[in-house]
C-alpha cells in the first residue's frame, strides 16, 4: 500500500458498509476499523486481567499461612504459571500495544486506519482463542506447572499435555504480537499524513516504533525456542534435555533473549502514554522532546543486550556477568532521562489533580522505586543473594504493575471521553486511585524485605518467621482487588449516565481530540489535521493550534 492521500480514502466504500455489522455488534465482528480493534483489545485483555487477578488472589490466600493448606501444591504451581502467563501475554502486552496502539497511532500519524487493517483484525482475533485455550486447558488437561519461564528440565517432566497447550497458546499470542508490531512499524513509517515529519510525531508513536522493533526482533526467538521445547516434550528430542546431551542453560539464554525485551515491550508503550497524558493535564509542552526520542531508541538497543542478567546464578562465565552488569545498569541512564524530563514537564505547569494525573504521577513514584531496585539487581554480587526471591517478585511488580498497569488506568481516565463521548466520575476515580496505590504498596513493598531475609519465590509454604509480612502483603492484595470495583462501576455507569464530554474535554492538542467523541469511521469527516506542534501548550493559539489546517467540520477550534 502506498501513501494514500486523505482525499482518496475519504470516499466511502458502499459494500463494506453493508456487510459489516453496525452498532455494538461490530465489537464482536471481524471489524477492520482500528478504533474498534483497539477497544476489542482493551476490553478483552481487561477480562483476562480479572482472571489473572483472581489467580493472584489464590496465591495471596495460600500465602496467608506458612503451610500449604489452601490449594494442592500442584494446583499452586499451575496457578502461578497461569497468573504470570495471563498477566504478561493476555493483559499488559495486548492492552498497551494492541489496545492503545491501535486506537491512537492512526490518529497520531494522521491516517484513516492502520497500514494493514486485515492483518490487524487477524492479530486481535488470535488472542481470544489463545487465551481461552490456556484457561480451558486447566479444566481439561490441567495447566502447565513450570512457571511462565518454563525452564527445562522441569517443563519436560511436568505433565506433557499441559505444557504443550501452554506452548501453543504462547505461540499464538507471540504471533499476534509480531503481526501487530509489523503493522505499527508500517503505519508510523509509511502512513504519515503528507507534511507530517517524524520529529513532529507525538511521543507515543516513537514508543510504539521502538517497542515494535523489539517485538519483531525478539519474539521470533521465543517462538523458535518454544518449538524446540515442544519437540523435546513430544518427539523426545534432546535440545534442552541433559539426559540426551542437551543443555538447559541454552534454553535460558534463548528464553531471556525475548523475555527481557518483553519487559520493554510492556513499559515503553506505557512511557509513551505518560508522555501524552502529562503535558495535557499540566498544560505545558513535553520537556526535551528530542532527548526523549533518543532515550527510547537507546533503551531499545540496550534492551536487546542485557538478557543474561536473569542468569547470574546459572553458572555463566565471569566476563559475561561483567558485561551484562554494565549493560543493564546503563539502561538506567536513558530511563532516568525520561523521568527527569517528565518531572521538568510538571515543573511550573498548571497541574490538574484528576484521576488521570494521579495515576500517572503514582507511576513515576512506583517506577522510580522499581528502577532503583533494578539497578541494584543488575549488580552481580547483589543479585547472587536475592535472585529468585521475593525481592525480585517485589521489583518486577513495581515495574509492570506499579509502572504499566498504573499507566493503563491513567490512560483509561484520559481517553474514556474520546472512546465513549462521556466523562468518567472523578470521585469514584479518586477512590479507585487511593485503594490501588495503598493496596499496591502494601502488597509489594514488604516483599523486598522478605526476599532479602530468605523467602524464595514460587513457594506455597515458607518459614513461619515470614508470616506477618506475608499477611500484610495479602491485605494489600485484597485492597487491590477491591479497588477494581469502583473502577468497574465507574466505567459501566458512566457509559450511560456520565456527563457528556464533548469533542475535547481536556483542551488537548494531539490529533485524536480534533474530531468528534467517539470519532467517526475513518477518524475525520474532512481532511486529517496537520498537527505540527502536538505539545504546543502555553503558546498563542495561532502558533500552537493548527486551526488553519484543521478544516474538518467537527474539528475543535476553541482556545
Amino acid at each position: 500500500m502506498t501513501i494514500a492521500s486523505p482525499q482518496d480514502l475519504a470516499v466511502p466504500q458502499p459494500p463494506s458498509g453493508q456487510l459489516q455489522p453496525q452498532g455494538w455488534l461490530r465489537y464482536f465482528s471481524f471489524s477492520l476499523d482500528h478504533k474498534v480493534i483497539g477497544l476489542q483489545y482493551i476490553v478483552t485483555s481487561f477480562l483476562f486481567y480479572l482472571i489473572g487477578g483472581a489467580l493472584a488472589g489464590v496465591i495471596r490466600t495460600e500465602l496467608v499461612s506458612p503451610m500449604s493448606d489452601f490449594v494442592s501444591r500442584e494446583t499452586y504451581n499451575e496457578v502461578l504459571t497461569l497468573h504470570g502467563t495471563i498477566m504478561i501475554f493476555l493483559w499488559i502486552v495486548p492492552v498497551v500495544n494492541g489496545g492503545f496502539g491501535n486506537y491512537l497511532i492512526p490518529f497520531y500519524v494522521g491516517a484513516r486506519d492502520m497500514a494493514f487493517p486485515r492483518l490487524n483484525a487477524v492479530a486481535f482475533w488470535m488472542i481470544p482463542p489463545a487465551g481461552l485455550l490456556l484457561i480451558a486447558s486447566h479444566f481439561i488437561t490441567g495447566s502447565a506447572q513450570s512457571g511462565w519461564t518454563a525452564y527445562p528440565p522441569l517443563s519436560l517432566t511436568t505433565p506433557a499435555m499441559a505444557q504443550v497447550v501452554w506452548i501453543i497458546s504462547v505461540l499464538l499470542l507471540g504471533g499476534s504480537s509480531i503481526f501487530g508490531a509489523i503493522n505499527f512499524i508500517a503505519t508510523v513509517m509509511k502512513m504519515r499524513r503528507p507534511g507530517l515529519k517524524l520529529m513532529q510525531l507525538p511521543m507515543y508513536c516513537w514508543a510504539m516504533l521502538g517497542t515494535s522493533i523489539l517485538a519483531v526482533l525478539s519474539t521470533p526467538v521465543l517462538a523458535g525456542t518454544l518449538l524446540l521445547l515442544s519437540f523435546d516434550i513430544v518427539a523426545h528430542t534432546g535440545f534442552f534435555n541433559p539426559t540426551l546431551g542437551g543443555n538447559v542453560v541454552v534454553y535460558q539464554h534463548l528464553f531471556w533473549f525475548y523475555s527481557h525485551p518483553a519487559v520493554y515491550i510492556m513499559v515503553l508503550p506505557a512511557f509513551g502514554l505518560v508522555s501524552e497524558i502529562l503535558p495535557v493535564h499540566a498544560r505545558k509542552p513535553l520537556f526535551g522532546y528530542s532527548t526523549m526520542v533518543y532515550s527510547i531508541m537507546a533503551i531499545v538497543f540496550l534492551g536487546l543486550i542485557v538478557w543474561a542478567h536473569h542468569m547470574f546464578t546459572s553458572g555463566t562465565p565471569p566476563w559475561m556477568r561483567l558485561f551484562f552488569t554494565i549493560a543493564t545498569a546503563f539502561i538506567a541512564v536513558p530511563t532516568g532521562i525520561k523521568f527527569f524530563n517528565w518531572l521538568a514537564t510538571l515543573w511550573g505547569g498548571k497541574i490538574a489533580l484528576n484521576s488521570a494525573m494521579l495515576f500517572a504521577c503514582a507511576f513515576i513514584v512506583n517506577f522510580v522505586f522499581g528502577g532503583i531496585t533494578g539497578v541494584a539487581l543488575a549488580q552481580v554480587p547483589f543479585d547472587i543473594h536475592v535472585h529468585d526471591t521475593y525481592f525480585v517478585v517485589g521489583h518486577f511488580h513495581y515495574i509492570v504493575y506499579g509502572g504499566t498497569v498504573f499507566v493503563i488506568f491513567s490512560a483509561i481516565y484520559h481517553w474514556y471521553p474520546k472512546f465513549t463521548g462521556k466523562m468518567l466520575d472523578e470521585t469514584l476515580g479518586k477512590i479507585h486511585f487511593a485503594l490501588t496505590f495503598i493496596g499496591f504498596n502494601l502488597c509489594f513493598a514488604p516483599q523486598h524485605w522478605l526476599g532479602l531475609n530468605g523467602m524464595p519465590r514460587r513457594v506455597a509454604e515458607y518459614d513461619p518467621m515470614f508470616t506477618t509480612l506475608n499477611q500484610l502483603s495479602s491485605v494489600g492484595a485484597l485492597l487491590m482487588a477491591l479497588s477494581t470495583l469502583p473502577f468497574l462501576i465507574n466505567v459501566i455507569r458512566s457509559f450511560s449516565h456520565g456527563a457528556v464530554a464533548g469533542d475535547n474535554p481536556w483542551n488537548a492538542l494531539t490529533p485524536e481530540w480534533l474530531t468528534t467523541s467517539p470519532p467517526p469511521v475513518e477518524n475525520w469527516k474532512g481532511e486529517a489535521p496537520l498537527v505540527a506542534h502536538p505539545y504546543g501548550y502555553g503558546q498563542l493559539p495561532s502558533a500552537g493550534l493548527p486551526v488553519d489546517q484543521a478544516t474538518g467540520q467537527d474539528v475543535w477550534t476553541g482556545s
Binding site: F369, T373, Q379
Partner: protein
C-alpha cells in the same frame, strides 16, 4: 532579605545526601552475616541503599512539591510556560546518572572480585578435582563421550589457600544430600567448621535446583548436566537455613535443609561421631532424615 533559591537548593540537596547516608548506615534490612562473603556484600548493600534512598526521596520530594506548588487553582484556565527543553539541563541529568551508574558498576565489580566471583575455576581446579569426580560416572552421556574431563562451572566464592573441605552435594526432587568424601559421611544436613573454606561440588539428578543460604549471601543454581563448584567460608557458628531457590516441582517450597556451622573442634567431634564403621557400604544407611515436605 529573601534567601536565594540556589542556596535553598544546595541546602536541600545536602540534607538529602546526609539523610541517604544515614539511612544506608543505620537501617539494616539484611539477616545476620555468617560467612566471609556476607560483610563484603553488606558493604555493597549499604552503598546501594544510600544512593537509592537519595534518588528516591529526592524524586518523590520534587514530584510532591510540584503537585502542590503548581496545582491548577480554581478558575484558572491558562497554560503553563511554553518551555520545551533545556540542553544544559539534559546534559546534567544524562551525565550524573551515567557517572553514578559507572561508579556503582566498578564498585560492585570490586566487591564481586573480593567475593571470589572472578576466580578462574574452569582451569586448574577442574584438573585438581577431576580425580575425585566419581560423579562423572553418573554424569551425562554426552560429557563422558566428548571430553575426558567434564566441564566444571564456577559459582562465586572466596577460597583460602589452606586446607579446603570438599563436600559433594546432590540435589534431587526434593532434597539436598551432602556427602563428605574424606570421612565417607552422607547427610541430609550440611555441617561445616567455621573459618575453613568449604568447597561444595554440586550436581542435580533431575531438574534445576538452587543452593541458597541467606546468611551467607550466596546462591548457586544446581544444574543437571553441569557440575558446579561453590566455595564459601563460614564465620559465625549457628544453624542457618538452606533454601532451594529455583522452582523444581510441587514440593519446591518444602525443599529446605540446614547448614550447621561448628567451631572447628566441635566439627572434628561431629566427624568422628558420624563416620561410619569400617565397611563403607553402610554409609547409605546413615542418611539423615530428609526434609521432604
Amino acid at each position: 532579605m529573601p534567601i536565594p533559591p540556589s542556596l535553598i537548593t544546595f541546602l536541600v540537596g545536602m540534607a538529602l545526601v546526609l539523610a541517604g547516608l544515614w539511612l544506608g548506615q543505620n537501617v539494616s534490612l539484611l539477616p545476620v552475616d555468617a560467612s566471609v562473603n556476607a560483610p563484603v556484600y553488606d558493604e555493597l548493600f549499604k552503598v546501594l541503599f544510600s544512593i537509592g534512598s537519595i534518588l528516591f526521596i529526592g524524586i518523590l520530594g520534587l514530584l510532591l512539591f510540584s503537585l502542590v506548588r503548581f496545582r491548577r487553582r480554581e478558575g484558572d484556565h491558562s497554560d503553563g510556560a511554553p518551555i520545551e527543553g533545556n540542553l544544559p539541563l539534559e546534559i546534567v541529568w544524562t551525565a550524573i546518572p551515567a557517572v553514578v551508574v559507572l561508579f556503582i558498576g566498578i564498585y560492585s565489580y570490586d566487591i564481586y572480585d573480593r567475593m571470589g566471583g572472578m576466580t578462574p575455576l574452569n582451569d586448574h581446579s577442574a584438573m585438581v578435582h577431576a580425580a575425585s569426580m566419581e560423579a562423572s560416572a553418573t554424569m551425562q552421556v554426552a560429557n563422558a563421550a566428548t571430553s575426558e574431563e567434564p566441564r566444571v562451572w564456577g559459582g562465586i566464592g572466596v577460597r583460602s589457600d589452606k586446607d579446603i573441605l570438599p563436600v559433594d552435594l546432590t540435589a534431587l526432587q526434593f532434597a539436598f544430600i551432602f556427602h563428605y568424601p574424606g570421612a565417607n559421611i552422607t547427610s541430609g544436613e550440611l555441617h561445616v567448621p567455621a573459618h575453613r573454606s568449604v568447597e561444595l561440588r554440586m550436581k542435580a539428578n533431575d531438574v534445576i535446583h538452587a543452593f541458597w543460604v541467606p546468611q551467607f549471601r550466596l546462591k548457586q543454581d544446581i544444574i543437571p548436566g553441569q557440575q558446579t563448584i561453590l566455595t564459601f567460608t563460614a564465620t559465625r557458628p549457628g544453624t542457618y537455613p538452606i533454601v532451594c531457590a529455583e522452582l523444581c516441582g510441587p514440593y519446591h517450597g518444602g525443599m529446605r535443609s540446614s547448614v550447621v556451622v561448628h567451631e572447628p573442634d566441635d566439627f572434628e567431634a561431629w566427624l568422628q561421631k558420624n563416620s561410619p564403621a569400617p565397611p563403607p557400604t553402610a554409609s547409605v544407611a546413615q542418611l539423615d532424615v530428609l526434609p521432604v515436605a
